[in-house]
Structure formats: structure tokens, C-alpha cells
Symmetry: C2
Subunit: 192 residues, 2 copies
């Protein structure tokens, strides 16, 4: 499980073997079955997580029972609830597995240690936060300005490996579009 992470991080940083070994020594490997939860809203998110295999979902449930998906996390991506993790406050979101997944986790204490002692990891993490900000800003813009058709096309273009693996109602709940609208769009595209 750590092998996938090691490949991933070596491609993006110039961490030494010793650095990797320290990171490994603090990593918690976890198998998550489909539908199993990693975080419930109201709990503090105690881990920074790397998905080495599978697909996680970060979602919120409103009082009326409807779900809204903030993030899909396929293999080779990071996830956490950043505000809950950083400030040790209850999370407003849930994280669960949409497929059998393998996840590597670090506690806040351990990640802080790594962050403070491995400059290459610190630089990488900061770059990741900034890149994440670009993506989330673009997402805000898309959600407020794009038509449902544009949102659907962007999703397929940006997340082809997620699109093929999740039911349409989840794509709808990520895009903030009704499932009915998305079904209509998909049908129109299939016949055109």
C-alpha cells in the first residue's frame, strides 16, 4: 500500500530515502470497504489521508436528508477536512468509500513533525495547498456561472476516471444540478 504512495511522492519531490523512511514510519495503513466511513460530520478529522487505491467521497448531509458531494478522491490524491484537521474542531462533512479503498493516514501530531523536519515535504504540501486553491476557485466560478450542460462536460473532461465509476446522481450532487436535469443532458448527448 505504501509502495503506491512512495512512487507518487518521489515523482513530485526530491525526498531522500531517509525522508521516505521517516514518513513511512509514521504512516497508518488502512483498508476501507465500500460504504465504510472514515469520518462522520461532528467528529474531529484526525488524519491527513492519501488514497493509494479506490475512491473516497467527502459529502455533507442536509437536515432534509439530501447529500452534497464536496470532493471525490480517487487513487493518488489527498483528502482530509482541512479546517477540522488544522483547528481540531468538529467536521461539517463526512468521508466514506465508494469502492474498496486503501488509505494511508498520518495524525496531525505526526504530520506536523514531518512538516517541521522534512523541508521537501513542507514545500510540496504548501504547493499542494496553493494548487488546491486554484482548483476550488475555478469550481466556484463554474458552479455559479456554467449551465448544467457546461458543468457536465467539464466534469467528464476533468474527472474522466471518476465519471466512469460513480452513479449519475452523485455527479449531480457534486455539480449542484438535479439528477433529472443531468439525466436529460446525458440522454441528449447520447442521441446526438
Amino acid at each position: 500500500m505504501f509502495a503506491e504512495f512512495e512512487t507518487f511522492i518521489r515523482e513530485r519531490t526530491d525526498l531522500s530515502d531517509a525522508d521516505i523512511e521517516v514518513i513511512r514510519s509514521l504512516a497508518i495503513e488502512k483498508i476501507v470497504r465500500k460504504k465504510e466511513s472514515l469520518l462522520h460530520a461532528g467528529e474531529v478529522c484526525r488524519y491527513k489521508m492519501f488514497v493509494s487505491k479506490g475512491l473516497l467521497r467527502t459529502f455533507c448531509t442536509k437536515e432534509d436528508g439530501s447529500d452534497y458531494i464536496l470532493q471525490f478522491s480517487p487513487e493518488n490524491s489527498w483528502t482530509t477536512d482541512p479546517e477540522s484537521f488544522d483547528k481540531l474542531i468538529p467536521s461539517v462533512c463526512n468521508i466514506d468509500a465508494l469502492e474498496y479503498s486503501e488509505v494511508i493516514m498520518w495524525t496531525k501530531e505526526d504530520f506536523n513533525y514531518l512538516f517541521a523536519n522534512i523541508p521537501g515535504l513542507k514545500a510540496y504540501t504548501q504547493k499542494l495547498i496553493v494548487q488546491n486553491m486554484y482548483v476550488v476557485r475555478q469550481r466556484v466560478l463554474s458552479v455559479i456561472s456554467s449551465t448544467p450542460e457546461e458543468k457536465y462536460d467539464e466534469f467528464i473532461k476533468n474527472y474522466p476516471n471518476v465519471f466512469a465509476r460513480v452513479p449519475l446522481h452523485m455527479v449531480a450532487s457534486y455539480l449542484g444540478v438535479s439528477t433529472k436535469t443531468l439525466s436529460r443532458i446525458r440522454h441528449a448527448q447520447l442521441v446526438r
Copy 2:
């Protein structure tokens, strides 16, 4: 104009007088009249900007001529197009002034110098990026999950000092709700 910035930054950091003096020596002070542009889509955003007075707007215009507001920046807030500024690529957004404004600007080169040489400013900037990420994630969640009524209420609660200063159609264009819907909500609230 720099006085407002100095007060702001001293409240949030423990920068020395010498640090402040270096930051001041590289600052460009700019008066922006109402409706004047600071950035056109397609240009590289060359400045990190602090609004010491007034109100700026970051917005994108679609091909059909409709505007979508990504961000309002009232006094005592920062703005830039982060991806354009960081990577020197054309911006997809415009920035203009909704009121007479006073803005302090630093070029990328100068800001990089400050970032590298003033640890207190670096720590503050990194904290700001992380806080900004919390806000933008929350905004995504709100845009995809909230009803127009909830979006309107959240906006009034979170940005009372902006709400009172901008026309309703701009609030609509920030929330991703039609002006017609927002007028109906406002009317319903006024009479209840």
C-alpha cells in the same frame, strides 16, 4: 493610504518597524475611481493588492455578456488572481472598483523578496492562504447545497458591509441565483 495597511498588518503579525519600512518601500499606492479597471481578463495579474479603502470586485464575463462575481474585496482585504499572479499566465477574471478605492500593490518580484526576507510576513501569508481555502470550500458547499433563501441569508450574515453597498443583481451574480429569484426573496423577507 499606507497607514490603514500598517494598522491592519500590525494587528495580525509582530512585524518590526524595520520590516514595515521595507514593505512600505516596495508598495505602490493607487487611487482607483468607481468603475475603473485594475485587471482585464486575458492580462497577467501583476500585483498582489490590499484594499485600504473602497470596494473591488473580481468577476468573469461569459460569451453571452453575463457577469459572474467570484469575489468582493472591501477595505482591509487582499485580492489578486492567484493563479495568474503565481504562474504569470493570463487571468480569466477582471477586477474593477465598485466605489472610489485606495489600493496598495506589490509586484510579484517585490512580494517574493518580502516573502523570502520577512519570516513574519511569510507566516502571515501562508496562514491567509489556508484560511482562504476554508472560506472557498465553504462557499462551494453553500453554492451546491443551499437554497436561494439560505444563500441570501448567509450572504447578509457573512458580508453585511458588502450587502449594504452593492445592487441586488450583483449579490445574485455572486450567489449564482437569478436576480428575479433574489428580488422575490427580498420582497418576501421585507413583508414578513
